[in-house]
């Protein structure tokens, strides 16, 4: 057993962290499955178009802000909005956790190449943007976002250039399936750990690709079946 634990780091990790029980797996699914949090806060009641417009404008405006103090204040304001959306700190942390390493790495690279102040500015800006997008995702149902896409594409549809409903459905399904890819990744990783393998980009990539293609076929079939 000791030999196995040394030989297979995956098993070692399971032994250290405890087995992945169904409850743990379920919580992973809940965490990764959907960003929308059903509630009745004023942010949930606000029109989806308005939220997306404010997000787009404020994100663009943020690119011209270079004062770390102002960026920090904006970040705190967005944190306040997260609380207003009814999300707990734990829920937000679960969504942001995968990004922390990316932000830290980018921050370190930026500090090394451009200086600490520039790095701080960049990290604050990115963090605020992600948090703001999260607020919109947590408070806007997918169908409302799709309606905004249909409205935006309305003029092009009248010209006969696009089928707005189809584009909106494609957009909606993409948003819907991004978190599901996380669940899929988790499933494949667990299956490999359970077999004593150490997941690597190659061993994860191939089943991930095959599963994603199969899932796309299944969803297309389900939509077809509904007429």
């Amino acid at each position: 057993m000791v030999y196995q634990l040394r030989r297979w780091p995956g098993i070692k990790r399971i032994a250290r962290d405890g087995p992945l029980t169904p409850t743990t797996q379920d919580s992973y699914r809940k965490m990764l499955g959907s960003l929308y949090l059903p509630s009745g806060t004023w942010l949930h009641l606000a029109p989806a178009g308005l939220k997306l417009a404010v997000l787009a404008l404020s994100s663009t405006a943020l690119m011209w802000v270079h004062s770390p103090l102002l960026l920090l204040l904006t970040c705190l304001l967005v944190c306040l909005l997260v609380r207003c959306a009814g999300a707990s700190l734990q829920q937000v942390w679960r969504q942001l956790r995968p990004l922390v390493w990316l932000l830290l790495t980018l921050g370190a690279l930026s500090a090394w190449s451009q200086g600490v102040l520039q790095a701080l500015e960049m990290v604050l800006r990115l963090f605020t943007l992600v948090l703001a997008a999260l607020v919109v995702s947590m408070t806007t149902p997918l169908t409302q976002m799709m309606q905004v896409v249909v409205w935006l594409l309305g003029p092009f549809e009248r010209l006969g250039w696009v089928d707005a409903e189809k584009v909106a459905l494609g957009f909606g399904l993409t948003l819907r399936l991004i978190p599901e890819l996380g669940v899929q990744w988790q499933d494949i990783r667990e299956a490999q750990l359970a077999r004593g393998l150490t997941p690597s980009p190659l061993t994860m990539g191939v089943p991930m690709l095959l599963r994603t293609l199969r899932r796309a076929d299944e969803i297309a079939e389900a939509i077809d079946a509904r007429g």
């Binding site: 059903p38 149902p141 169908t143 899932r215 299944e218 509904r226």
Partner: protein, 225 residues
């Protein structure tokens, strides 16, 4: 209900999965059983045009699935084996309302119809829930509600009890018995077949036996076990 298979053959990935099938289905409850890979799922996928035959013709209430696929799909509700494949939207009500989009132009009536379908299955409380927080059994019921909300004339179930525990399986059986629509059920759950009027046994892409449940199950156990 009248479903006709006229000399139907289906090939998938260069393999014949159904061979020269001739059938007329008009009973209220029809069961389809058979070994894995025998062609059961292909048979039911032909009914709403998810699969088209290479040769022959499939007609549902006089409509050819190859030519009138949209009209056929409006008549045939299909419940998939895995509810995760069927549920495409993250919220329960969004998913059910999505299926009604082309059938009910009034959004308020769509909401009411979605709620009514969930209430009918005793899961009205799930309306505002995220699909990812539901158990396997609840998802199966939501998938069924999404199909029932469209008020199809014929229902097709592809292994509906696979993911259900005993309690939910019994609940599903009771719901099935109470449905007014004719239904075709593909299943490995042989106990479920007892409430059928007719059971088809499919083996190696062919209709191996066709009869009442007791005879069909006896034949299946004698020849395919």
């Amino acid at each position: 209900m009248l479903i006709e298979f006229k000399n139907v053959s289906v090939e998938r990935e260069r393999r014949l999965v159904l061979t020269d099938l001739c059938l007329v289905l008009s009973e209220q409850r029809i069961g389809v059983i058979g070994p894995n890979g025998s062609g059961k799922s292909s048979l039911v996928r032909l009914i709403n045009g998810l699969l088209l035959p290479q040769t022959g013709q499939v007609c549902v209430n006089g409509l050819d699935t190859g030519k009138d696929v949209a009209a056929v799909r409006r008549q045939v509700g299909f419940v998939f084996q895995n509810p995760d494949n069927q549920i495409v939207f993250p919220m329960v009500h969004e998913d059910i309302e999505f299926g009604l989009k082309h059938r009910e132009p009034d959004p308020k009536r769509r909401v009411l119809r979605a709620q009514a379908a969930l209430e009918r299955l005793g899961v009205g409380h799930l309306t505002e829930r995220s699909v990812h927080t539901l158990s396997g059994g609840e998802r199966q019921l939501v998938a069924l509600a999404a199909v029932l909300a469209t008020e199809p004339e014929i229902l097709v179930f592809d292994e509906p009890t696979t993911q259900l525990d005993l309690r939910l399986r019994n609940r599903f059986e009771a719901h099935l018995a109470g449905l007014p629509q004719p239904a075709l059920v593909v299943s490995h759950d042989l106990a479920l077949m007892h409430q059928m009027d007719r059971v088809l046994v499919i083996d190696q892409g062919q209709l191996a036996f066709d009869g009442v449940p007791t005879e069909a199950l006896a034949w299946y156990q004698a020849h395919c076990a």
